[in-house]
Subunit: 393 residues, 3 copies
């Protein structure tokens, strides 16, 4: 299992998208380590504006891939070519040769990876699954749907971002995996789903699991046939809601919920059928109609959100769902600091990537492998840097 990953320069959250892709690759690998087959030392050549990496950014990108399961870090390309379509794609050896920022950072990466050799083969631990599926993503992007603003991975990125901000590591996995190891399962707009996978999710909740489903999920079966009766077909009974009609919003239209949250793109005419109402619309086309619901199912809980909450509302809801499920963040971390653990048979490796412009101190006991320094209670991670602390397992 391998991945080619390139940052999208126009995306201000490109480092979170990197983490998502790494977790998705690991999910496709069944949790086993994987290969980063291609990334770049600096700019690429196929975007409108090919932004170069800042000092330290290539190393930070590389180590976040490793933190999330990569056991190899490779690049396109060895030497920047004189001619052809890819001559402005960055390389290990740039046009300007080896007396360059790029080459010095490549050499430094080699040294760091050598120091991390013992991480090889260890596994990332995660208490939360995020269900993402290629056929569902392709199907939801077909035309003649209720709204062009329902984009394939929009809610996947939104729920992932909320977990990232909370310092919670998630496995990004297809819906067919065994869900029993997880304390909570996030289901972002999983439009297409087989009855088999839908039943498995219901069993998971009945067995005590917690699940959060967003709008336009479970609508069609694996043949892209709508499940008749009220929406959201496959999840109607599990969620205890009955949606009779979609009410997409106009471009730039937004609505308010009675808990103060803002939302856009999507609303729907929903009636509870077993679920409790968590929040309702106060304006828009459906004032008074439930927007967020929660149903207790034996020991489990099934949440539903029928609209596109803004970033703040998504963050609040995911925090509440995960807290309800007893998910612990790895640790309390400052904003912009990314923390992931890889765990071996008798040791664990705490990766701390500092995406901020200030140094941070985090509690840690063990040995920091990049520098070789001991950590007697805390580790300091410089602005833009990454620390890897070997801990007792």
């Amino acid at each position: 299992m391998s991945n080619d990953h390139y940052l999208v320069a126009a995306d201000p959250d490109a480092h979170v998208e990197l983490a998502f892709c790494a977790d998705r690759t690991r999910g496709l690998a069944g949790g086993r380590p994987w290969f980063l087959m291609e990334h770049s030392t600096s700019a690429v050549n196929w975007q409108p504006r090919n932004v170069a990496k800042r000092p330290g950014e290539m190393l930070r990108n590389s180590l976040v891939h490793v933190a999330r399961g990569a056991d190899a870090v490779c690049f396109f390309q060895w030497r920047a070519s004189r001619g052809g379509a890819e001559k402005y794609h960055s390389a290990l050896v740039p046009h300007a040769g080896t007396d360059t920022k790029v080459w010095r950072e490549v050499v430094a990466l080699g040294r760091v990876l050598e120091a991390l050799a013992e991480v090889l083969g260890t596994r990332v631990e995660a208490d939360v699954a995020l269900l993402v599926d290629y056929p569902a993503q392709w199907a939801v992007e077909l035309d003649s749907h209720p709204s062009v603003d329902v984009e394939g991975l929009d809610r996947a990125h939104a729920l992932y971002r909320a977990a990232w901000d909370l310092g919670v590591t998630v496995d990004v996995v297809p819906p067919s995996v065994d869900l029993t190891p997880y304390r909570a399962v996030l289901v972002p707009t999983l439009y297409l789903l087989s009855d088999h996978d839908a039943t498995a999710l219901a069993r998971y909740v009945e067995g005590g699991g917690h699940v959060l489903v967003t709008y336009f999920s479970g609508i069609v079966d694996e043949h892209d046939h709508v499940r008749l009766g009220a929406y959201p077909g496959a999840f109607r009974d599990l969620l205890g809601v009955r949606v009779e009609e979609f009410f997409p919003l106009r471009r730039e239209e937004s609505v308010r919920l009675d808990d103060g949250t803002a939302a856009d793109v999507w609303t729907e005419l929903l009636q509870p059928a077993g679920a409790d109402v968590v929040a309702r619309y106060v304006d828009g086309p459906l004032p008074g109609v439930p927007a967020v619901t929660r149903r207790t199912v034996r020991d489990g809980v099934a949440w539903y959100v029928g609209t596109r909450l803004d970033r703040c509302g998504t963050h609040r809801l995911v925090r509440r769902v995960l807290a309800d499920a007893g998910v612990d963040p790895v640790r309390e971390v400052p904003q912009g600091v990314e923390v992931v653990r890889r765990v071996g048979s008798d040791r664990a490796y705490l990766f701390v990537a500092n995406h901020t412009a200030e140094p941070v101190d985090l509690p840690a006991v063990g040995t920091e492998l990049v520098t070789g320094a001991p950590c007697d209670g805390s580790v300091r991670v410089g602005a833009g840097e990454v620390a890897v602390v070997r801990q007792a397992g």
Copy 2:
């Protein structure tokens, strides 16, 4: 004669566009009743954002079609399909079945139409014609023209909207119809016109008619050949103006007239040749040049406007032209309330559609057919509702 009509969700004035299309269908039917062959119970599936109809909106749409001459109200489609490209197009029976807002409103519509059976075969009365022509519309949208901002039906919708706001019912007809029954004729950017139809319009004015022509009208004959000599070729003598050169405006450029009106898109170098000047430009490329003119022709009047007046200016001008022509609004109606009469041999039917969020009371004597209630002097029409009062003919 029939029409398929679907609301465009992104158009805030979609209900006025519905009225325009209904009047245009009746115009093509020579004033006879027609068939609404397709419309929708709620959202369609082919727009970027397919907005659902609000409660009562489908009934209101249906009855406005009837008010403007439809003797049948049909739908696409009977039952929402499980698969295929149109599965998210609304239907009489939605995916969620018959315990739904949509189905209940369909049943209610059936009852109301039954109560209106006696309206069948009656005719809409109108004192004003609006000339719209498919060949002219197609020709004005050809490329290599002075400005892409001169769009096929732009002025047709603008003049129609002004009449709608004034409560004046118009017949939307091709230029070849007999104009003698009308008190006034509106001619929105009728780019292409045969000599025969131009002569008929001149005869109409000479016979006491009132006409309002907007810019880029009468320019080419039916072979798309420019009429040489000054513009607006076919209407130059009738209007008493001589335009030697078009001066389109830049994107987002606007000009002011000396009566305070704003305008955009189009100006032209115009000299009066028999017409009186009503308003002049005060800025832009042609300060001091006439923008609006009026020529008395025996008992008739010919108005010309050489620029694209804004909505307020268009409203003021149309009101003045219609008042000058002695056109009476059906009655004084509050803003957002639509009033149309269908007239039979011994009875008339007053349709009142209330597009506002408040109930309105209008003077009426007769029987309200939807409820069966008598009207002894006035009829109350709830927010979003439609009343149909049978009156003595």
Copy 3:
């Protein structure tokens, strides 16, 4: 050698683009007079909004072409056609005939050109060259480059505009011409260049010439092969700089220099290698890195600017470079007034085009040819008008 020139209505500086094209045509003609084969009496028909020429604009356009070397002023088309794709392209004889602004101005132009007959065959004088090259322009617009915002003639127009504002006439020439007659050479983003031409430019500077080069110049040879080693390959030694990596900016991102100038689109990781630093970035991806450099080469000077200065910064830098090179503006002229000299064997012709809305007085001794009036020390040029003063050579 001839040119077809049409104003682009959406360009607020279309009159400067006209001057650039005229100078480029003269440059391709080796300085000899040339033919204006086509321009228009007023609007064209192929732009989105075809803006008509204001009174006097066609004459002013025509005489600026003459000022910059045109010995003939021709038009498309004789008579506006009744039919076909070009029927709305302006003509000598418009649809409206000869009792028109357009025709009267055409007749007036004929009289003025007759009065200028003695200008025929004279040559424009210029102390400054601007290097522009078709193969370089085509190559820089190929895809898969660092930034789509590096457009073919962007810096050519920017440097030209600065010289135009300073009243300095430039020859727009390919890099293969003999540069020795010029006091200064401007090299706007000359991406592709042969070794031969690069060497000639270096020889020119060694011989006392002054040169200003902007970013992404000298990068590839005539086969579109990158010159290895640091950028800007062909000019690295001449400029005394070493660029190891490009740092294009994001859309709408801008940076500041320590002399207060703003810039956008492009920055680069530059180290001086013989050049002095004139200005550095204070923010953006490369704070502290040099943005503008200057290298003394024997009696010559080589300037480099590694970013896209805004209009004000470009103006200041070009003024400084030209002053350094001892270039005199033809004379001090008010903003918006264009002054060019054509020189014959014993006489010179001073063209003054007033693009402003106020009359201007400029010092001049001789005879004004349009009016035939003597100038005893100054010439008055009305708003929008052009004067041509015959001076002693």
